[in-house]
Amino acid sequence: MSYIIDRRLNSKDKSAVNRQRFLKRYKKHIKQAVTDAVSKRSITDMERGENIGIPQRDIDEPAFGHSKGGVRERVLPGNKEFLSGDKIKRPDGGAGGGAGNGSASGSGEGLDDFVFQITQDEFLEFMFEDLELPNLVRRQLASTETFKRVKAGISDQGTPNQLNIVRSMRSAYARRIALGAKKRRRRNEILAELAGQEGSHEPTVLALREELVVLERKLANIPFIDDFDLKYNIHKKLPQPSSKAVMFCLMDVSGSMDQRTKDIAKRFFILLYLFLQRNYEQTEVVFIRHHSTAKEVEEEEFFYSRETGGTVVSSALKLMSGIIEDRYPVSEWNIYGAQASDGDNWTNDSPICHDLLANDLLPLLQYYCYIEITDRGHQELWQYYEKLAEAHGDAFALRAIEDYADIYPVFRELFQRQSNGQPMSSGS
């Protein structure tokens, strides 16, 4: 006797727990691999998994066994020309007839690493680990102005507008069945007895007819719907933290910015974008590029078209301020700004930038970060921004980047969990 069972619909991922434990155990290795991958990967490429290699010796489970040496006798199949008494020269490497199950890789390829894949989610998780958007929670709690109504169950009391018709009808129906059951049963009995005795005037028949009339009346009197049938939906108002974020990418596209510098900037923006995307339900991006004048552009144009001209950073800040006023009310949006530049600015413009940021923008923003991509010394803009950082340390940060590999560490540093501030739980 055999039982045949279809298990195909059973849950997936029976090994998920064990897999997680493995990942946890080799976290250090994986993190290192992720960090390397981030600095090497191209921009469009962030959202996929990664192959992680761990040296085989690090993950071996030790067991007693024999190593090479000693006397080994082995039986092999497929003899062609050997006769007993033959002496064979030992092959190079000495692995010869030894080493247990003979796992010498024939292709000559070193299989030293244990390689496996982590998913895109895991990749990003490792990448963003320990990071948290600054002021996220505080802002969310302080500026809750929207509410969401959520269902909170069913109640016997309520106002007519909360009436749950289906539930009410169901309970009325149940009540009618319950109240009428006995009477209906009796009525059916009587009807059965009376069947075929229409013309009869026997006293018993008359009594039954009378009872029938009473029963019918009583049945008709069971109310179709009653007060206590009524069921009401209850709703609760939950404060809804703003779940929308907008990110302003500001970049200098004047002649002094070469493609490589832009490329570095782009990676930085991408990281920030991915990060916001994971923390907010909806994330929008506004690209503002500027030379001596600023312009809002599409992503493609933002990164790849070339312009020449001077550099007036404040023009971009002014434009940003205008766009916020027009389209992104602070009550609904979490606003982030990220500016990338090589540090050049029109001589008298840097103080203006300072004032613009300090007075107009920073009060509206969650965070503003400035990265300077240059291997030269810092210029005036940097110095003014440094003052800003001193005064608004929690909402403003600036860093210098020299090469691709610097991006990720700098990014991490910028958004490092703020240990000194108020406790932060993970966002949204």
Binding site: M1, S2, Y3, I4, I5, D6, R7, R8, N10, K12, D13, K14, S15, V17, N18, R19, R21, F22, L23, K24, I59, E61, P62, A63, F64, G65, H66, S67, K68, G69, G70, V71, R72, E73, R74, V75, L76, P77, G78, N79, K80, F82, L83, S84, G85, D86, K87, I88, K89, R90, G96, G97, G98, N101, G102, G106, F114, V115, F116, Q117
Partner: protein, 501 residues
């Protein structure tokens, strides 16, 4: 009119039932005695899960199974490795997993192979009979999983994980090779667990009692060595005698030991088990063809798959990775039938009792009463040695060359057979390491002796394993590796400054 059960390669549940019924009928006619079958159809990703849990349908959680899973997954995704068509569990009812990707032919092959071949082997081979209890194993797995999960909750998963690491490192040393164990029973386990925990603790306290007793009493115990005889079952020794383990830790040591014991027969009957199952799927499906139940297309597909399973690459082939247990086992099973049915003079000389006897009962007898080592020793015939062109080499690190000591000829048959049997002898494949002494009245150190086999040294994992042993024992560990009477190597794992990664 033909009575083919099916004519195309799509399978359905009805067809599987029909095939199973026919296969069962034929299997019965050959006297295959099986547990009831529980055939489960699964997806390929579930097959990977089944793979990763190394044959336990319900496994406890441990990172090493995750590693196994990632390994399987990678191999499968890259196409380096096909998944097995089937996995079968030694339990009652006997659980067999079939992949949904298989064609109807493959499902039939797998049913014959696993549900009647392996199944009858599990039920009747003496090793399985004495070492495993198919009735209760699933319950035991469930018990083990729950117990370990509870421990994780109570003592933290890191604590449990490192304990399991240590136990796993020693799991090949968790069986008594020569003693017959009690079969495991889950219900009993559970009932007796508390009692045992308490009892053991009391015993241990007794063993390690430090309060001085009367003088005469002392003199008597001092001469008494502990353990009085060397112990080969390291995990058992730890479970019963480690001074510092908590009762729950002893229970986990026991779980790993018991599960290792459950798999112990499988490690010793690979050739026979696969050979038996392969012989029967081959015989049964051919019988089905003879009875007109399956068509030529079915047979073509079956034979194609069968012949790749029993292929034996030669030693100089790039595909060579040792002797294929399917190939050797199948060849030997077929050979036994041949010797019974059509013996040559040579067979009559080598197997006087076998030649001309009833093949079916001879085969059943062989399956029931042997393990790989003794099976080869008893049944490997000159015919099979010649067919495989087996030869024997000796690789001595003190000699400049590798010597061919025997080949498939009249002078060599016996030596080839002995050498091949040794190759399947677990006790010569694994280092012989035993508990020699515990310094009960001194520093409580544990001394192990390793007796070298043909001067084969221990591998470089040894120290790492000893660190794990140290974690379990809690005091110094000494290991002396003997070549004959001489100590070749000494390792000491000290009590302090120890770090396990």
């Amino acid at each position: 009119m033909n009575k083919f059960i099916s004519e195309n390669s799509e399978w359905t549940f009805e067809l599987i039932e029909k095939y199973d019924a026919e296969i069962a009928r034929i299997a019965q006619s050959y006297g295959l005695d099986t547990y009831p079958n529980q055939i489960e159809i699964i997806r390929s990703d579930q097959m990977m899960d089944a793979y990763a849990s190394v044959g336990m349908p319900v496994g406890y959680n441990h990172w090493s199974f995750g590693k196994q899973f990632l390994n399987v997954e990678r191999g499968y995704r890259r196409g380096q490795m096909g998944l097995a068509y089937e996995i079968v569990i030694n339990s009652n009812p006997c659980i067999a997993y079939l992949m949904e990707e298989n064609s109807m032919t493959m499902q039939a092959l797998v049913i014959a192979h696993a549900c009647y071949g392996h199944n009858s082997f599990f039920k009747n081979n003496y090793l399985f009979k004495s070492w495993t209890d198919a009735e209760s194993i699933i319950d035991y797995f469930v018990f083990a999983r729950k117990f370990i999960a509870d421990c994780e909750e109570r003592y933290g998963s890191e604590e449990v994980e490192s304990l399991l690491d240590s136990c796993h490192a020693l799991r090949n040393y968790g069986t008594d090779r020569y003693k017959r164990p009690y079969p495991i029973s889950a219900a009993e386990e559970k009932a007796r667990q508390d009692e045992r925990a308490e009892y053991i603790q009391r015993q241990i306290n007794d063993l390690w009692r430090t309060i001085p007793r009367g003088a005469s009493d002392r003199a008597a115990t001092e001469e008494h060595r502990f353990p009085s005889e060397p112990q080969e079952n390291l995990l058992y020794f730890i479970e019963k005698n480690a001074p510092l383990l908590e009762p729950w830790q002893r229970e986990i040591v026991r779980i790993v030991r018991k599960i290792a014991q459950y798999f112990y027969p499988q490690r010793q009957t690979q050739v026979m088990n696969e050979g038996w199952a392969t012989f029967w799927h081959y015989t049964i499906l051919n019988e089905m063809f003879d009875q007109g139940l399956v068509n030529e297309g079915f047979m073509m597909e079956f034979l194609h798959s069968h012949s790749s399973v029993v292929a034996q690459p030669e030693f100089d082939s790039p595909y060579f990775s040792g002797i294929n247990p399917y190939a050797l086992g199948f060849a030997m099973m077929r050979d036994i039938r041949r010797i019974c049915e059509a013996p040559t003079d040579e067979d009559r000389h080598w197997f006087p009792d076998l030649a001309g006897s009833d093949w079916l009962s001879a085969l059943h007898f062989a399956m029931e009463n042997y393990k790989d080592e003794s099976f080869i020793q008893q049944y490997l015939s000159p015919t099979v040695i010649r067919d495989f062109k087996l030869y024997c080499i000796v690789d001595d690190d003190q000699s400049d060359t590798i010597n061919v000591t025997a080949i498939h000829n009249e002078d060599g048959y016996r030596q080839v057979r002995d050498a091949l049997a040794q190759q399947y002898n677990l006790s010569s494949q694994e280092p012989d390491i035993q508990v020699h002494e515990v310094d009960v009245r001194g520093d409580r150190s544990l001394t192990l002796h390793h007796q070298q086999n043909s001067r084969k040294p221990l591998n470089e994992d040894t120290e790492e394993v000893l660190k794990h042993l140290h974690r379990l024992w809690g005091f110094d560990i000494y290991l002396f590796s003997y070549n004959g009477q001489e100590v070749e190597q000494t390792i000491r794992i000290p009590g302090k400054a120890l770090s396990l990664v």
